[in-house]
C-alpha cells in the first residue's frame, strides 16, 4: 500500500462544488480523502502550493489512428500526448483502418489501450457500416464490446432517414449518437469559412449554414426519436442558438467545442498555413464569441479536442490538398484557460467543461474527485508559460495550430488510477 499526499493545492471538484485549498490523499489506485488531512503517514508528499488539483480531463473526441495509420499516431503516442495535456480518459473515433464498425476492432483497440495506453481509452464505434451512411452498424454488439457512443464523424450521414434509424436504434441501447454536423453538398469543395477572408485569399469557402442546417436537421431528428444527440465541434453562432433553443425545449442534446474554434478565426487562413485547415473550418470573430458565450453559459457542455494527427508530409502540400485536422491534446488546457483569465468562467466551471461534464455526457466514470473513486488526477499550473514547439510535442504528429505560440497554463502531473502518467520536467517533456 502506497499513500501519496498532495498538499497545498487549490482543489477543484465541480461535482461536489468544492473549490478550496486542501489535501488529497491517494492510496494505491484510489482517492482516499479529499480536503481534510488524514491521520495516516504518507509515503510521499507532493507540495502543490499555487497549483490546481482537478479530476483528470476527459476528451470526447480524438483520433488515435490505431489501427491502420500508425505513422500519424498510435495509441501509445496519442495517450502519452493526452496525459501531457492533463487528460486521463480519451474517446477515439471510428475512422481507423479498418473502420471500427465491428466488435473485433473495438476489442482490439481496447486491448492495445490496456497494453500501451498511458491513459484510459474509451471507444466510439461507427454508427453505420464502413462509415458509408447506409446500413447501421451492429450497435448492440459494439456496445456490449465496450463502445460508449456511436459516430460516423466526418463521414456525415447525409441521408436523414438513415440518421433517424441510427438515433432510434442507439436510443434503445442507451448510447448517444455523436454528429459531425456538416451538409457535405452545401460544403462542396469548401475548405475554409466562406467570407471576406476566403474571398481575398481565393480559397473555396464553406458557409456556416453547411453546419447550422445540419444541426437543425439533427435536432429535429433527436426530437422525433427521443435519442441523445451529441453535437460534435460546434463552430457557428447559429448552431449555439439552435442548441440553446432545443435544450430549453427539452430535446436530449449535448454539445462540444474545440479549443481551436474557441481561440482562432478565419483570418488565420490568410497565411495559407495548412495547420489552420480543419472541418468544420475556423469561422468569424462573431462565431467565436458565440462559442465562448455558449461554453460559459453551459449551452455547450464541454471542450473536446478533435485531436487529429497528420504527418508533416501530408500537411506540407497545397491548401486544398491537405487533410483536415489539427492535434489538440497538449494545448487544449492552455487555450481553455484564456476564458478563465478573461473572467468568462471560473476555474471550477473550466474543470467542469474539461472533465466533469464530458464524463457525464457519455455516462462514463471519471471527472470527479470522489473518495473511493479512481485516482484520475491532474495537477495544473495555471500560470506556467511555455512555447509550443514541434520538438517538444509528445504526439507523433506536429500539426498544431499553435506552433510557435507562447501559451499560459499547463498540466504538471497527470495520474491515471494513481499511476503517474505524466510529469513535466524542468525543461519540459523530451
Amino acid at each position: 500500500m502506497t499513500r501519496t499526499r498532495i498538499q497545498g493545492a487549490r482543489i477543484l471538484d465541480p461535482l461536489s462544488g468544492r473549490d478550496e485549498l486542501g489535501v488529497v490523499d491517494v492510496v494505491d489506485d484510489r482517492i482516499e480523502s479529499v480536503g481534510r488531512e488524514s491521520a495516516a503517514l504518507p509515503d510521499q508528499v507532493i507540495e502543490a502550493a499555487g497549483l490546481w488539483l482537478a479530476p483528470g480531463f476527459v476528451d470526447l473526441h480524438a483520433h488515435l489512428r490505431e489501427p491502420g495509420q500508425e505513422y500519424k499516431e498510435d495509441i501509445e503516442t496519442g495517450t502519452r500526448a493526452a496525459a501531457a495535456g492533463g487528460y486521463t480518459t480519451v474517446c477515439c473515433m471510428a475512422n481507423t483502418d479498418p473502420v471500427n464498425d465491428t466488435p473485433a476492432v473495438t476489442e482490439y483497440i481496447q486491448r492495445r489501450a490496456r497494453e500501451s495506453g498511458a491513459v484510459r481509452v474509451r471507444v466510439i464505434a461507427a454508427a453505420t457500416q464502413g462509415l458509408r451512411g447506409e446500413i447501421m452498424s451492429e450497435m448492440a454488439s459494439l456496445a456490449a464490446a465496450g463502445a460508449v457512443a456511436f459516430s460516423d464523424d466526418g463521414s456525415v450521414i447525409m441521408n436523414a432517414a438513415v440518421m433517424r434509424r441510427v438515433l432510434e436504434y442507439a436510443r434503445g441501447i442507451g448510447r448517444p449518437v455523436i454528429a459531425h454536423c456538416e451538409d457535405l453538398n452545401l460544403r462542396g469543395s469548401g475548405v475554409v469559412h466562406e467570407g471576406a477572408h476566403a474571398t481575398c485569399c481565393g480559397l473555396p469557402g464553406s458557409p456556416a449554414e453547411a453546419e447550422t442546417a445540419m444541426v437543425a436537421r439533427d435536432l429535429e431528428l433527436a426530437r422525433l426519436t427521443g435519442a441523445h444527440l451529441h453535437v460534435a465541434h460546434v463552430s457557428a453562432l447559429r448552431s449555439v442558438e439552435l442548441i440553446r433553443e432545443a435544450k430549453a425545449a427539452g430535446v436530449r442534446v449535448t454539445a462540444e467545442v474545440t479549443p481551436h474554434h474557441l481561440s482562432l478565426t478565419d483570418e488565420t487562413v490568410r497565411s495559407y498555413d495548412t495547420n489552420f485547415k480543419m472541418a468544420p473550418p475556423l469561422r468569424s470573430a462573431r462565431d467565436r464569441e458565440a462559442l465562448r458565450e455558449g461554453l460559459a453559459d453551459g449551452t455547450i457542455d464541454c471542450v473536446a479536442t478533435d485531436h487529429a494527427p497528420h504527418a508533416l508530409y501530408e500537411k506540407d502540400v497545397e491548401f486544398t490538398a491537405a487533410p483536415f485536422g489539427v492535434v489538440g491534446f497538449e494545448t487544449a488546457l492552455s487555450i481553455a484557460l484564456e476564458l478563465v483569465r478573461e473572467e468568462r468562467m471560473t476555474p471550477l466551471e473550466l474543470v467542469d467543461r474539461l472533465a466533469t461534464r464530458p464524463a457525464r455526457v457519455l455516462g462514463i466514470p471519471g471527472g470527479t474527485l470522489e473518495p473511493g473513486g479512481p485516482a484520475d488526477l491532474v495537477l495544473v499550473d495555471p500560470e506556467r508559460v511555455w512555447k509550443v514547439e514541434s520538438a517538444r510535442l509528445t504526439s507523433r504528429s506536429k500539426n498544431s495550430s499553435f506552433l510557435g505560440r507562447e501559451l499560459r497554463g499547463r498540466a504538471l502531473r497527470t495520474w491515471v488510477g494513481g499511476r503517474l502518467a505524466f510529469a513535466l520536467g524542468e525543461e519540459g517533456p523530451a
Binding site: 474571398t199 485569399c201 486544398t320 491537405a322
Partner: protein, 303 residues
Amino acid sequence: MKHLLGIEGMTRAEIELVLETSEAMLEISQREIKRVPTLRGRTVINVFLESSTRTRVSFEIAAKRLSADAINVTRAGSSLSKAETLADMARNLAAMSADVLVVRDSVAGVPHMLAERVRVPVVNAGDGCHEHPTQALLDAFTLRQSLGSLEGRVISIVGDISHSRVARSDIHCFTKLGAEVRVAGPPTMMPAGIEALGVKPCFSMEQALAGADVIVMLRIQQERLDGALFPSVREYSRTFGLTQRTLALAKPEAIVLHPGPINRGVEIASDVADAEPSRILDQVTNGVAVRMAVLYLLTGGQT
C-alpha cells in the same frame, strides 16, 4: 520587392515603379533586335503546374528578351501533393540554381508557400482563384496608355468574380491607383464579402456599365456549369454578355479589356472584341513588357 505574390501586398509606389519600368521594356519590344543583355547568365524557371499557354509564353519571351535562360517545368496532372511535398519541390527547384521562379498553380497560395521555402524571388503567375498580379499590372499599363491616369475612373469587371484571380488582382490594382471599381455577374458568381475589397457588386449590366470608363470582361468557363452557377451559356450571354447594345450603356469612349482567351459570342460578341474600343491585343503585347519589368526589378533591377 522581394517577390511578386499579389497586388494586395503592394504599395501604389511599387505598382507605379513596375508600370514606369514597363514603358522602357515596351520600347525594347518594338526594336528590330528585341533583346538586351540585362539578365545574361540568369535563369528563370517557369513552374507551370497548371496548364497555360499565353502566360507561360509571355513570361518565356520576357525572360529571353532580357537574355535570361528560361526553362519551363510543367507537370501533367499538376497535383504535386500526390508525388511531392512543397518542401521537396522547393528544394529541387533551388537545386537547379534558379534566379527567379515564376509559379502558376491551380491552388491558391502555392506561390506563397514556395516563397517561404526558397531563397529566390517568386513571381505569382496565377494561383487558383486568388491572384494573377502580372495580369493586373498589364491591364493597368494598357489603361494608362489610353486614359493617362486611372484616378477617378469607373471600371466595371464583369463575369465569374468568385472564381477569378484576374478580378481580385484587378480590384486591388485599380483601387490602389484611384479608380472606382464595380464587379458584376449573377449572385452565384459573386463571392461572399467582396465589398471588403472596396468594390460595389452589381447584378445587371445596366447597373454595372452606366457611366463606366472601362469594361473588363472575364472569360466564362463552361465547366462552371457543373457547379450549377448558371443555367445555360445562352442565358448567361443574354444577361451578362458584352454586345453593341450593352456596350452602349457605358460612356461613349469606354474601352474594353479581356484577359483572354475570349469566348466569342459568350461573354463578348465578336463585333465588340474586334472593334475600336477593344484593347485585347494591346494587353497581350503589353504583357511581355510588364513581365520583363517584373523580372528586371526582382533581379537585375535590385541595386
